[in-house]
Symmetry: C2
Subunit: 382 residues, 2 copies
Amino acid sequence: MKFIHTADWHLGKLVHGIYMTEDQREVLNQFVQLVEEEKPDAVVIAGDLYDRSVPPTDAVELLDEVLFKINVELKTPVVAIAGNHDSAERLHFGSSWYRNSHFYLTGKIQNEFKPVQINGVNFYLVPYAEPGNVRHALNREGVNSHQEAMKAIIGKIEENLNPNEPNVFVGHAFVLGGNTTDSERTLSVGGSGCVTQDLFAPFSYTALGHLHSPDAIKHDKIFYSGSLLKYSFSEAKQRKSVSIVEMKENGTFDIRYRSLAPKQDMRELSGYLEELLDTSFYEKEKVDDYLKITLHDEGALLDPIEKLRQVYPNVLHLERKLVLKDMKDKKSFTSVREEKKSELELFEQFYTEMTTAEFTEDKKEVMTEVIEKVLQEEGDRR
Amino acid sequence: MKFIHTADWHLGKLVHGIYMTEDQREVLNQFVQLVEEEKPDAVVIAGDLYDRSVPPTDAVELLDEVLFKINVELKTPVVAIAGNHDSAERLHFGSSWYRNSHFYLTGKIQNEFKPVQINGVNFYLVPYAEPGNVRHALNREGVNSHQEAMKAIIGKIEENLNPNEPNVFVGHAFVLGGNTTDSERTLSVGGSGCVTQDLFAPFSYTALGHLHSPDAIKHDKIFYSGSLLKYSFSEAKQRKSVSIVEMKENGTFDIRYRSLAPKQDMRELSGYLEELLDTSFYEKEKVDDYLKITLHDEGALLDPIEKLRQVYPNVLHLERKLVLKDMKDKKSFTSVREEKKSELELFEQFYTEMTTAEFTEDKKEVMTEVIEKVLQEEGDRR
């Protein structure tokens, strides 16, 4: 029995102000083709189909279109759950009808975990749910963390699980041992969102969504498929693929990966402005990729982003990082907002970064005067 | 062949700050029971299933539940279209799957109007669409009004329509001859949203949604079913029902109405405060109905809404209207915002309504001084 494990499509995602819907359409077309070639017995989507609870309408249309091709036209059973980015209730709408076409979609956590059986394999669908919702749905006091919630759910599943059959857990969770990237960050703050690996011991294969790298966890039975695309620059070096799992009757399996190639990659580039704008440099580059550029230049630069965009139209983020011999690296732009600094400190930082000259006491005096005058006038106006 | 015609459910509707979802659930339960009794060959819902493009999640769950009962449990084919309050794209999601269960849902206008055939009757599904969307979908220049759009659509339908069969048009539009109420108002401003009755001549029965009264149009083949519930006080005196249509092979039909009874009616009440608060008056009243109360009292009243709510918990709107012998009626509250008045005029109106004493020249002088001082200070601060 063969299934494809994918997750974290995040349809309707906005990356640095750019809607990724067309990139997603491109990659999903490749995915549909891959399904056509592989002819799996099922496609498993482990949550975060959309990027937000109310996705833009073109993302809604894209999902409808892609699932229709896979499920109805290619007659492939589809197993899908809601992730933390999906709206459980909105995604759940219509799921009772979809089952007739072997499209098994679970948006909301329920008090029943009857497996979906496809060619001898049992799929247990566990959508993302807050501990409070699990406590309510399972009517179990004392469920206050994701760990307790998952334990309660799996305990409930085990009541009727036949360990002699291949059992696949489909979930959306932060399983410990994983590494996070920027685009997954929201959930994991403080570690309260984590669950431990040992909970999944009853399953032959655990098909997870949530972390965006297929290498996020090293385990012989627990896997993240990784996201469809790179969704932040912290994922720039991750491979993106879907997992092809061939499940045997005894619950062991073979796994291999097939990658999907977006038209535009997301990657980082660094160097001196002049160098990056040099034909001999960029003629070897895929200039329309989504780029984060780090400039090493010292001193003031006049509108570097404009100049860069004439060569690299999709620069999404620009940073400057001086490369000095005996000093620690200094960051600009991004760090400014992170700390609470006085106006004078902010200006001093700006001045030294832009000029590399010293911000002398004389200069400091002049600026102090200017700043005080401005603040005074602002106060008067209030 | 028997079908039930309903429309304008407006699930998730907020009336004067109150979510009507529980009232809707109550009435829809009655509707499901009515379907069970009538055993129709189809249920037709002519648009505005939801009240807005992104309805609250409990409205989404309610629609899912009700349609599942009717379509899957009672095995009744359902024919539904999007209205102007629905999101065409969001409602359309999944419609390809629903067809397998004889749930025919059209959210988006398309360039094809293949009828849904149910027991010898052809249903033509025409969701609400802006003229621009119709122009685009049908690729027809010169479609700039709703009238032109509807003409183009029906022209297209007629290309393949067999006039010897019973043909039912299912649409969501403001057909001339109808009367509007407050809750339909948005679309009809300026009359540009109107279409004429003659366009529907090719059809045996035209099942409309949009206007909320079943009496909104007097025509022997064009009908509004009316909304599920009263959704504004301008509908307080309307009957609310669904239409049971028995269609014969030659395209003639019988029609009858069945009403649905919400737990709480929406109605208007008027009188003097003391009278309305008198036990002998309200003991005969259904005090927990949704009420618009008009008080006839003169002079100042201390917190009348609080006093009224102790007897009538669901007062949604309070107005005052003096009943004077030789004067025209005067309105307060609501009328204030309608006209552009000076500060002095506004105060004068307020003063006379609250006290019924004269706003003398002396008083006027004092107020003029106060108002000028306030405006002056406000100007200085800007």
